[in-house]
């Protein structure tokens, strides 16, 4: 895709108006050594979108996720997520910001010594939900991800796909505006990968903005969603109903 096309598309998105939920303006991130991980990235995501971020290792995808989680601060540029200015946000406000963000990781990151119910309830404890709310919300979300019958199981007793469902339930139980999924199918077989992606699509249809970082070419090509392709720290392609672009 020609560079001018990308620029034109970006302009169109910037003009999309007030329904933008994630905005990156000229964002760069340099580490102490080596080339910058992100270099002048502009990205605008509207409420309710389903977006794939694709790219090879070292393309800057992980750095972008860390910036969106406010684990890192950009060296340059502006990041706004759900109205939070992530460059200037105070340290004590970060937990409140993250509570509106559901996060799913490739390695699930469940609390291994707690069962399925406790893992999901933990996210509710953090927002100081009452015991009554927890007892109502946790079984309901576990039913949504198809794990109502396994609420007592410990993570080690579950398959990879089931563990990822628990992670998704934990990410969703506080009804976040955005779901960030970092390689959610990276540790799963094709069947489980598809099931997880269908679940994410269903979550998106219910109004949650979903951002998926992935390597999974087959899924990206099949789902026909917006695809942002990154290479060496810059966005090289941003297409509605796009596909996985092979590296030259």
């Amino acid at each position: 895709m020609a560079k001018s096309d990308v620029k034109g598309r970006r302009k169109k998105r910037q003009g999309a108006g007030n329904d933008e939920i994630i905005t990156l303006e000229n964002v760069s991130k340099a580490y102490a050594t080596g080339a910058p991980a992100l270099n002048g990235v502009d990205l605008h995501i509207r409420k309710g979108e389903f977006v794939f971020i694709v790219g090879d290792s070292g393309s800057g995808k992980s750095t972008m996720i860390k910036l969106l989680l406010r684990e890192l601060v950009p060296s340059e540029g502006e990041i706004n997520v759900m109205g939070y200015d992530l460059v200037r946000i105070r340290h004590r406000k970060i937990p409140k910001f993250r509570r509106n963000l559901g996060i799913v990781f490739q390695d699930f990151r469940l609390l291994k010594d707690r069962n399925v119910y406790e893992n999901v309830a933990f996210a509710q404890r953090i927002i100081q939900a009452s015991n009554k709310e927890i007892k109502r919300n946790v079984p309901s979300i576990l039913a949504t991800v198809g794990l109502a019958g396994k609420y007592k199981a410990k993570p080690r007793q579950l398959s990879g796909g089931e563990q990822q469902r628990v992670a998704i339930a934990r990410a969703l139980v506080n009804r976040p505006s955005i779901l960030l999924a970092d390689e959610p199918t990276g540790n799963l077989d094709p069947k489980n990968s598809w099931e997880i992606m269908k679940l994410l699509e269903q979550i998106n249809e219910n109004g949650t903005t979903v951002l998926v970082v992935t390597h999974n070419r087959e899924i990206v090509n099949a789902m026909q969603k917006r695809v942002v392709t990154m290479k060496k720290g810059v966005i090289v392609s941003d297409e509605e109903k796009g596909g996985y672009i092979d590296e030259d």
Binding site: L69, P95, R98, L111, I126, Q128, N131
Partner: protein, 298 residues
């Protein structure tokens, strides 16, 4: 903080002790071993100090009066002595009482040749001190009082006891400082290793949106509880052993029983128990709070 969150945090602190039982056991053992040594040395040092103090209390100064002094002047001298802060108590021994005591100590049935008191000027005050190191100053004062003929003192005993007392104080401070330093080093290492293992747990909590306080609280409660248990176990062991050891020493070394005066168990534990608890809780609190802080920057 909502009340159910408060109770949840407390509960998690307790639950974590059982969840991480090997770490908890290692921490309790480390704190317990250090505080056991501390308690042991504290008990020994306190008893040494008590033995020296008892010996010091037996050290006295004797004041004799000028020949022909009036009873009125002797009483005035007594008032002057009572005003001195270094004096713990004084006893008046009349000339007759002094003679009786002399007969009992040295003559034992050979006093028949004496029809009168041969030491009519032997009336005296026996003065006991709060602190034997104050003896020289007291003696100088007493020698300056009008009507005082002679002041008898046991200088060697006073100097020796003062020296022993100072030595015990230096040794005890040294041992306690070394033990504390070793304890803090060992305990902080144990806590650091234990919490480093749980770094992932802390990171997950932070990603989900937990505040630093929410993450830290269960760890701090856990650390403090480990500190309490780690303090109570050694104090309990020392409590049980204390009387048994004293009974053993007194029975096996009965000839020392007049020299050795041990403190009652309450005398040691009234201080040792709260100090050990404060140290245990303090070490648990500081150890957990500082170590968790390292992992909170996510």
């Amino acid at each position: 903080m909502k009340i159910n969150t408060f109770f949840y945090t407390i509960k998690q602190g307790f639950v974590n002790i059982f969840r991480n039982k090997w770490f908890s056991l290692a921490s309790i053992a480390t704190i317990g071993a250090c505080l056991f040594l501390f308690g042991l040395f504290y008990s020994i040092i306190m008893n040494f100090q008590n033995i020296v103090k008892t010996a010091q209390q037996g050290v006295c100064v004797t004041v004799f009066f000028d020949e022909g002094i009036s009873q009125e002047r002797i009483e005035e001298i007594g008032v002057l002595i009572d005003k001195r802060t270094e004096v713990s108590k004084k006893e008046f021994i009349s000339a007759d009482e002094a003679w009786e005591s002399f007969k009992e100590d040295y003559l034992q049935g050979y006093e028949d040749g004496f029809t009168e008191n041969p030491i009519p000027n032997s009336a005296n005050y026996v003065i006991y001190m709060n602190d034997v190191s104050m003896q020289p100053a007291l003696v100088i004062y007493l020698e300056g009082i009008e009507g005082v003929r002679e002041v008898n003192k046991s200088e060697l005993v006073a100097v020796t006891l003062t020296g022993v007392n100072a030595l015990i104080a230096y040794i005890s401070v040294g041992i306690i400082v070394i033990l504390l330093a070793v304890s803090i080093f060992l305990i902080s290492n144990t806590v650091t290793i234990g919490i480093a293992v749980r770094k992932e747990e802390i990171t997950i909590m932070k990603y989900i949106g937990a505040t630093d306080f929410f993450v830290r609280s269960p760890f701090v409660i856990e650390g403090m509880m480990i500190g309490v248990i780690g303090a109570l176990i050694p104090v309990g062991i020392i409590f049980v052993l204390y009387n048994k050891v004293i009974e053993y020493i007194m029975s096996e070394f009965s000839m020392l029983s007049k020299l050795l005066t041990f403190l009652p168990v309450e005398g040691v534990f009234n201080t040792l128990l709260p100090v050990s608890l404060i140290m245990g809780v303090g070490i648990g609190f500081l150890g957990s709070i500082t170590t968790v802080r390292k992992h909170l920057r996510v």
